[in-house]
Symmetry: C2
Subunit: 391 residues, 2 copies
């Protein structure tokens, strides 16, 4: 187990009707805010009206910034920064999923910064200050509601890059699982893959003596595996949604990273898929992760056996660990397929003409290696993308 | 699953040599502090010297308040409050275990309060302000290093009572598992029982649909069960200590209470034991908890079967759930005995002449009921204490 610092000050307000507390929570910080959201879905479901009513009740003024898209764009971030500066707004409220929250976080570090906000994402420049951010989560997936990270796509070249900083932990996040019941099934499924990926990125580690976090991660995977099919089948099942939504947050609040080194190669590889093809991040992960596993499992067969047995209830073949390990990977694929996801590039409409380009971009022309469990160069990434092809 | 708010802003700094960061961390808050600790053990081990060196290096002045005892006393809290007021100290550093940290928290809420600090513990008065507290933990047990609670004993009448408030989350807690290696084995064992009790108090609930937190608690119990015997046998095993120490914190940081109602009757009953007989809190819990289980298990046999199977690897007798449940309770007793704890009142030197008095005190003369899993009146508590007698 490694030395670590764990600090996560986000206040989580969880449960039925909790969105009606948003005005009160915001008012602790500001009376004049930027209100960021995506498209019309929050208006159709009535969530927008409830948020506005709660803000008005607490005399919070707001300027709206709608239009956040999946794989959120740098241009909208810049627009948000300008609005905040022009109107002296000093708090960002995000109502939506990971893209909306990541946009809010980017605006939050961009406003007090003299340079270009993209510096934080592209140049290893660390933010020194940030406006406070609050969130109302609509879909369990990205975990951004209590994470210290933000991922933004720069349309000039379609680079998708991330930043991490303690400064961008949301001050509060409101989670009402009931709100999730109106999400289209394919978005739910992609969100589930994202949650699983956050858990697996942390799980596959070379750090020794990590029983506690191993088991905590396995527990959360099992809970996700048990409840995801329920919400897909029965979107009005509040109890299943509540298990899934809280799992999504816990998966990514960094408790499960304590004392261990995560991998994150699959995330980096996927960013090239969604950056270039604009597929949903979770849908991309459902394709990349099994391919990554098939490429690296021999590096630590025992860990893949543990994954198969403890997470997927695979009956261990004590004389053939490789068979057991591969059975676990197969179970993961079957799970993704069972909730409506594809596990091959072709399922995302991606042909093989740009695989090398993606491998090149992901590794900065073979200048950086990806991952920690196994360090991957450009050729490795290319091989993984080939493994992600059907047949 | 119930609605909940989860907020835990304590910064955890974990690992080898981390105590040398204490000066730097304290200096973010204050340059003139109260330094609370217990007896001579931190001097014998050299920890005291390292703390003092780190404080001096960061130009932090301090006044010492040594002398914290297990089941920490109100009189010392009052002394600490007076020292802080007389010398304008505005930060409390606790170096020790739960008793030292709870003393620091009590001083922290006492200093800015006009009335008597015991009001918070005895009269349902909520603290409105608190000095910041930081800790260097020496023994995994109480979980006070990242909890919102403090338990103090009033020597006038030997009442042991607790308070909970967001204001008393430590600002930081430093955990170096290496420091724990010099603790006497009986203290270690009592600490382990306390950790298990924190997990079990949360586990035994009537709240439905709590799979995630059920599994997270089970994971932590399994980790404690696997590593406690190792540190008892081999106190220099850093990796085992690190698993146990981090488990002790995670067990009590309230993540595992999210969306569910805990029980806490065993804690309340035990407080009368350690209040009157001054036994170690954990040693008392090892006696009370199995007796409580034997008294209540029929209330939700399924939960006790799950506990037996998932935590203790009991092979389920599908035709006799009661046998499976009782086997789980027996495994818990065997575990406590294996690490050197007694599971009967006689093992603590407690005879049966004051059982009724304790039942009476614990229930405020039958004016309050204890617990949530099963609500216990004075007679129930008396019956549980009788069950805690040998044979």
């Amino acid at each position: 187990m490694d030395n670590f610092v764990f600090y996560n000050p986000t206040k989580i307000i969880f449960g039925i009707d909790t969105e009606n507390q948003v005005g009160e929570e915001v008012a602790r910080y500001s009376k004049k805010i930027l209100f960021v959201y995506g498209g019309g879905s929050i208006k159709r479901t009535g969530l927008y009206d409830r948020i506005v009513a709660s803000l008005r009740k607490s005399q919070v003024e707001f300027i709206e910034l709608p239009g956040v898209k999946p794989n959120p764009r740098l241009s909208l971030v810049r627009e948000g920064i300008k609005i905040c500066r022009d109107n002296q707004l000093d708090f960002i409220l995000a109502v939506g999923g990971g893209s909306t929250i990541d946009t809010a976080k980017a605006i939050a570090i961009g406003v007090p910064y003299d340079g270009d906000v993209w510096d934080f994402y592209s140049k290893n420049v660390a933010p020194q200050a940030a406006l406070p951010v609050g969130t109302v989560l609509t879909i369990p997936a990205a975990g951004s509601e209590s994470s210290d990270s933000s991922v933004i796509t720069n349309e000039e070249g379609w680079y998708k890059r991330g930043v991490g900083s303690e400064l961008i932990y949301p001050k509060f996040s409101i989670l009402n699982p009931k709100i999730a019941s109106t999400i289209p099934k394919n978005h739910v499924a992609a969100g589930v893959a994202d949650i699983m990926a956050h858990l697996m990125e942390r799980y596959f580690t070379n750090t020794k003596n990590v029983e506690l976090t191993d088991r905590l991660i396995e527990s959360t995977m099992k809970t996700v595996i048990n409840h995801a099919p329920v919400v897909i089948r029965d979107p009005d099942n509040y109890e299943a949604w509540s298990q899934l939504m809280w799992s999504g947050t816990v998966a990514h609040n960094n408790l499960f990273s304590t004392g261990r080194v995560g991998d994150w190669a699959s995330h980096n590889i996927e960013h090239e898929l969604s950056g270039i093809y604009d597929v949903a991040h979770g849908a991309g992960l459902a394709v990349v992760f099994p391919a990554w596993m098939k490429y690296v499992y021999k590096h630590d067969l025992n860990r893949f056996v543990q994954f198969a047995v403890r997470v997927w209830n695979v009956e261990e073949d004590f004389f053939n660990p490789e068979k057991t390990a591969l059975e676990g990977i197969k179970k993961l694929e079957e799970f993704f397929i069972s909730i409506g996801l594809g596990v091959y590039l072709e399922d995302l409409g991606i042909q093989d003409d740009r695989l090398e380009e993606m491998a090149d971009k992901a590794t900065n022309s073979n200048q950086r290696k990806l991952g920690n469990f196994v360090k991957l160069d450009k050729n490795d990434v290319y091989s993984i993308l080939k493994l992600a092809k059907r047949g």
